[in-house]
């Protein structure tokens, strides 16, 4: 099964810029290595800070563009991993090892498998 780990935390630097290449802390590098070694890792990325977020809605054919994330909460989505695991227990173990779990929260969501057309 595939699982998405959504990493939520309070933002240290809300204006972490896209395109910039901040140094990845060693804990995260080690974690990603571990995911690769276990064969779980299928994708993963850090997101730019919520100050760079823009939210789009289309209502009655009108495009509404607003500044900021979808919901204003203390904890914001800061990154994700997409994993390939055998079961929820493996995904939960992976989530518990994520460095973000030490200061934020990791939401574990199964991906709905969809058949490709054709």
């Amino acid at each position: 099964m595939r699982y998405m780990l959504l990493i939520y935390s309070e933002e240290a630097q809300p204006d972490a810029a896209p395109g910039a290449t901040p140094e990845i802390p060693p804990a995260w590098l080690e974690y990603t290595d571990w995911l690769l070694k276990k064969g779980y890792h299928s994708a993963g990325e850090q997101l730019a800070g919520s100050s760079a977020a823009t939210t789009v809605r289309v209502r009655d054919g009108n495009r509404l563009v607003t500044d900021g994330p979808f919901t204003e909460t203390k904890e914001v989505l800061g990154g994700y991993y997409l994993l390939d695991c055998d079961s929820l227990d493996e995904a939960l173990e992976a989530a518990a090892r994520c460095p973000g779990a030490l200061y934020g929260s990791i939401e574990v969501r199964p991906i709905i498998g969809m058949a490709m057309p054709g």
Partner: protein
């Protein structure tokens, strides 16, 4: 123990709007043979279902359906032909065949892919263990850990455990928890859907996961027990079934995981608490104080079983390490201290206060401090206890918890400060919603004023 013998877990369901009007009891099947059939069925249900679920690749619904069909057959044939020597083996074989028939019937309708997947699932879980004792036990553990998975909400764990392991029917569980049947049915459907969608595996946790996962199992069973034990008058008969069921399941878990001290600790705690059940309610349906209880009505056989479980737990803990004495062993030890003495006067309150202190180190909680304060009041006098309770009240963590003013009222009463005691009983009554406890508090209030 406080006067009112509180249990630290609160009830699963307290929403007044969900309380249905009282319903009549289950229809009686009458005949003795049918009762014997039902008993055999109930005893075998959990382990048979556990094996079927594995056989069907984790499909709870198909397994339950097959077993229900087979039970209907058993109700016809067992009274006529006699109960099989091994009801579990009989039910497993019959239900497995029934489930395979269902898959074959489905195959004609379902598309090719589904058939292949089902075949894969069936061959993958080839029933090599079927019928062997070890296989059945592994299955039962798989089922226990799946039903009590921490990814499921607590109320769903409780319902699922009673339904699948206990073999209680949905209406029976709904009655016991005072929720409408539809609510309970919905809860079960959601739980099974989450197991499927989130990919909760049907397996026994690995050694390193075991402590956390076992906690969840024990907490679920404890909650089932408390729900029955704390039942207010009226529904007591139905709800006592929850206590019996929790004890039965705790004994199974202790049997299956004998090297885990806390499995014995929980079993001991439940047995020792349950042993006081008959003496716990006075003739008027009010709660009888521990010190007022007629100890001749305590169930000595159950106390002996509880003490044995406690000994097994401490023996297991000694084999591991000191740190493996957990909250259930400690709480059971406290209950055992009470059970040891033939009258309340010779209770070793000093030992009990020490046990509460050890407990609050593992599991810091204002409720445990409350209990410790009450034990200290017994050991060192009401004034010593009252000063601890005053500290506790000042911190405000127990605001809205009726046992704090109830305990303060009792100590004030013993110190002869009657008007203050009366005021505290009134405060307790204003926030207490258990009928039996209310009757007790009203009785005390009246005494304080007379």
């Amino acid at each position: 123990m406080t006067e009112l013998d509180p249990a630290p877990q609160s009830s699963v369901e307290r929403s007044a709007s969900e309380r249905p009007v009282p319903q009549p009891g289950p229809p009686s099947r009458g005949a003795d043979t049918n009762e014997a059939v039902e008993r055999a069925y109930r005893d075998a249900y959990g382990s048979v279902l556990a094996t079927l679920i594995r056989f069907l690749g984790g499909d709870f619904d198909a397994a339950e359906e097959a077993l229900a069909d087979v039970f209907a057959t058993a109700l016809e044939t067992w009274p006529r032909d006699g109960i099989p020597a091994s009801p579990a083996a009989w039910l497993t074989t019959a239900a497995r065949n029934r489930a395979l028939d269902a898959i074959r019937r489905d195959r004609r309708q379902a598309d090719k892919l589904a058939v292949l997947q089902q075949e894969l699932a069936v061959t993958e879980v080839a029933p090599m263990h079927l019928g062997t004792e070890g296989g059945l036990e592994d299955d039962r553990l798989r089922l226990i850990f799946t039903c009590c998975h921490p990814a499921l909400p607590l109320d769903a764990r409780v319902a699922l455990t009673l339904r699948t392991l206990g073999g209680l029917t949905t209406p029976e569980i709904a009655r016991a928890f005072l929720v409408p049947e539809a609510t309970l049915a919905q809860r079960l459907v959601r739980a099974k859907r989450k197991i499927r969608q989130a990919g909760i595996p049907y397996r026994v946790p690995r050694a390193e996961e075991l402590p956390e996962r076992l906690d969840s199992v024990l907490a679920t069973l404890y909650l089932v027990f408390n729900e029955g034990y704390l039942a207010s008058a009226g529904a007591t008969a139905v709800r006592h079934e929850l206590c019996t069921e929790a004890i039965r399941l705790a004994a199974i878990v202790a049997d299956l995981l004998p090297d885990r001290p806390e499995t014995h600790g929980l079993l001991a705690l439940l047995l020792l608490q349950d042993s006081r059940r008959e003496a716990r309610l006075g003739a008027d349906g009010s709660i009888a104080l521990l010190e007022e209880q007629d100890r001749s009505r305590w169930d000595r056989a159950e106390i002996a079983r509880g003490q044995e479980a406690l000994d097994r737990g401490f023996a297991a803990a000694a084999r591991l390490s000191h740190a493996s004495v957990g909250r259930y062993l400690l709480q059971a030890s406290i209950a055992a201290e009470h059970a040891r003495t033939a009258d309340g006067r010779s209770t070793d309150w000093r030992a009990i206060a020490t046990l509460y202190e050890a407990l609050s180190r593992i599991d810091p909680s204002p409720i445990i401090e409350l209990n410790r304060a009450v034990a200290i009041a017994q050991a060192d006098g009401p004034a010593a206890g009252l000063s601890l309770l005053d500290d506790l009240a000042a911190r405000g963590q127990l605001d809205g918890y009726h046992l704090l003013p109830a305990a303060r009222a009792d100590l004030l009463r013993r110190l002869g400060r009657l008007p203050e005691a009366a005021a505290e009983y009134e405060r307790a009554l204003a926030i207490c919603d258990n009928d039996a406890e209310r009757r007790f508090l009203q009785r005390r209030l009246a005494e304080t004023r007379s």
